[in-house]
């Protein structure tokens, strides 16, 4: 950590010194004219600072940032894995970094070959060979997928399907996506083992069901044990199955969603395939579909004709979902990542991520309470903080804030919504055993502090430029721009 990291940084407004400028212009060689007075504003009160002060201000701010290059970033359901530096080397090759989206296709054949091959790889990995690389991130991939499902039903002349089923453990984007695509959301309950409640599912599926959206493994970090049966129930009712690929890291190279009965799935390249995210974006959320749905994909996709790569519009495309060709450099990074592993080693991503999550859970499970203790978790696990709240008066927010004092980014909290006082941890495969041991030791120490000195947790974090923020006041009385208070 930098020596300045824990000092509070003033706002640029507070650093302002009247008359200071960060520029020096040559003398004007044309007659000067005043702007019309109705276009001039005097109330803006812009900060006046020098160039070097601005640079230092933002550099100091950047040093307060936490990032995956500093340490474990265990945000559940976010897959904050290490972003290999070789990806960054590749995107700086002139053929990728200097290519213009409007240049003729015949002059961008290398870039298009890469896109074509990534489509092929993602099709092979998912078992769903129709691929679009366009969506800008996961949620846009979801919208693309659900619009494809909608187009499929309408093309069959089936206009009666108005509902999408979604389990109560789902990512919030799933119901939001369904609503945006014009569907009613019908919630399906989870059972005690963390699976979808099959009785509730059977009760809710009907000829109004357009499809189901779910994540496997789900947000409890558990593999849906009846995934094939669930998908069969949907298919028997004429619905399609959308897989939220946010948790693909747990099964990549091991199980193919297409083989499990999914019809459509997206993959967050900025999770499973090592593209930076969390301020380091942009993301990318390609969508993969079974062969007969490829005709509905967004236009265009890259196709191969002899030796040449061309852009093609699928026959019954839902249209464009994003300008140009998606977030191209994110696509390049994912391509490099997949090629660095190769077909033989890709499964080690899933195996090691599951191993790391189970190892970390094993180190702390005697002091924290797993939500479904009888099951082996996949790439992440969920802890229930009810006992801490009851016995120590410490809630999960307090635990998360205390984790900051130990120099780590806190895990996801209060999600999934079905787990009270939830703490959701995903270490990813890119943590060494030593790093997991250290993190587990910190969590154990915090559990002991919760018992012996709960006030320490209520007041945390202590070792940061600002301590506990009043997020309630901020939410109730938001101040959304700078002003003198």
């Amino acid at each position: 950590m930098s020596i300045v990291a824990n000092k509070p940084e003033p706002l640029l407004y507070e650093m302002s010194n009247p008359g200071t400028v960060g520029y020096s212009l040559p003398e004007c060689d044309v007659p000067m004219t005043q702007l019309p007075s109705d276009l001039l504003r005097s109330e803006l009160n812009l900060p006046e600072v020098g160039e070097v002060d601005v640079v230092r201000h933002f550099t100091r701010l950047s040093q307060k940032n936490y990032c995956v290059d500093l340490g474990i970033y265990p945000l559940g359901s976010c897959t904050m894995k290490y972003n290999p530096k070789v990806n960054e080397e590749a995107i700086r090759l002139a053929g990728f970094s200097q290519v213009h989206p409007m240049q003729p296709a015949e002059t961008a054949q290398g870039a298009m070959q890469l896109m074509y091959e990534l489509q092929e790889y993602l099709g092979a990995i998912s078992g769903l060979p129709g691929v679009t690389l366009q969506p800008a991130a996961g949620a846009q991939g979801e919208l693309t997928g659900v619009l494809v499902i909608r187009a499929y039903h309408l093309a069959r002349g089936d206009t009666a399907r108005s509902e999408i089923l979604i389990p109560d453990s789902a990512h919030g984007t799933n119901p939001a996506t369904s609503a945006m695509a014009g569907y009613q959301v019908v919630q399906v309950k989870s059972d005690a083992r963390g699976n979808m409640d099959s009785e509730d599912l059977r009760a809710k599926v009907s000829n109004k069901t357009a499809g189901i959206m779910f994540t496997n493994p789900n947000t409890l970090g558990l593999f849906e044990e009846h995934v094939r049966a669930v998908n069969q129930i949907l298919h028997d009712a004429g619905g399609l199955v959308y897989g939220d690929g946010a948790n693909l890291n747990a099964i990549v190279g091991v199980a193919r969603p297409g083989d499990l009965g999914f019809d459509v799935i997206h993959s967050n390249l900025h999770k499973t395939f090592s593209v930076p995210h969390g301020g380091g974006g942009p993301g990318s959320g390609p969508v993969m579909v079974r062969p007969d749905l490829a005709q509905f994909l967004p236009s265009p996709v890259v196709a191969q004709e002899g030796e040449t790569y061309v852009f093609k519009n699928p026959a019954h495309s839902i249209g464009r979902i994003k300008s140009f060709w998606g977030n191209f450099l994110a696509i390049v990074r994912a391509y490099v990542y997949i090629r660095s592993f190769g077909k033989e080693h890709l499964q080690e991503i899933a195996q090691d991520s599951v191993l790391n999550a189970n190892y970390l859970l094993a180190l702390i499970r005697d002091v924290y309470d797993p939500q479904v203790p009888e099951r082996v978790c996949k790439h992440e696990f969920v802890l229930n903080g009810t006992r801490f709240k009851k016995e120590y008066g410490v809630n999960t927010l307090d635990v998360a804030k205390r984790i900051i004092d130990y120099g780590y980014y806190p895990p996801t909290i209060y999600f999934p919504l079905i787990v009270p006082e939830c703490l959701m941890i995903e270490p990813t495969e890119t943590q060494s055993k030593a790093s997991l041991d250290e993190f587990a030791a910190a969590l154990r120490q915090i559990a002991e502090e919760a018992r012996a000195n709960p006030q320490l947790l209520h007041d945390a974090p202590h070792d940061t430029p600002v301590t506990r923020l009043d997020d309630v006041k901020a939410a109730r009385e938001p101040v959304l721009r700078y002003k003198h208070l």
């Binding site: 008066g393 809630n395 909290i413 079905i418 309630v472 939410a475 109730r476």
Partner: protein
């Protein structure tokens, strides 16, 4: 903070498994969320309520309660016509945290569907289902 206080389960209201309560005041039904619900949600920062005059069935969502942790739908414990909503919650959503069964009420229903009351729980049943983890 909401933690540490004993959760209350008054006997003069009926409870839905989705954590709403209903209390009868002559021919009007008053609706809110339970003390357990406000405690689980944490500090409530926003309450969105429907326009009076709307009719809704039991189990239908009537609004949204937003805390610093999550935004949650709230559901009709009984069906009925919404005759009034608690406007005070617009400026003081924290009232739900402080007095869930009193000043933190959300809807008045007139008329309401009395038959729906039979599907609701009394305080002892609701509490036992929460303590056993059957509902959360």
């Amino acid at each position: 903070m909401s933690s540490g206080k004993e959760i209350t389960y008054p006997n003069d209201v009926k409870y839905a498994s989705t954590h709403e309560w209903v209390k009868l005041d002559s021919d009007t039904a008053i609706v809110g969320i339970t003390d357990y619900a406000q405690d689980a949600l944490g500090d409530i920062v926003f309450v969105e309520l429907p326009e009076p005059g709307m009719e809704k069935k039991a189990g239908e969502a009537f609004g949204v309660v937003e805390s610093v942790k999550a935004a949650s739908d709230v559901f009709m414990p009984v069906g009925g016509s919404i005759s009034a909503t608690n406007d005070a919650l617009r400026d003081a959503p924290e009232t739900v945290n402080g007095d869930a069964f009193g000043a933190g009420w959300m809807l008045k229903l007139f008329p309401y569907n009395a038959a729906d009351l039979e599907k609701l729980m009394d305080a002892a049943t609701y509490k036992s289902k929460i303590d056993s983890g059957e509902i959360h």
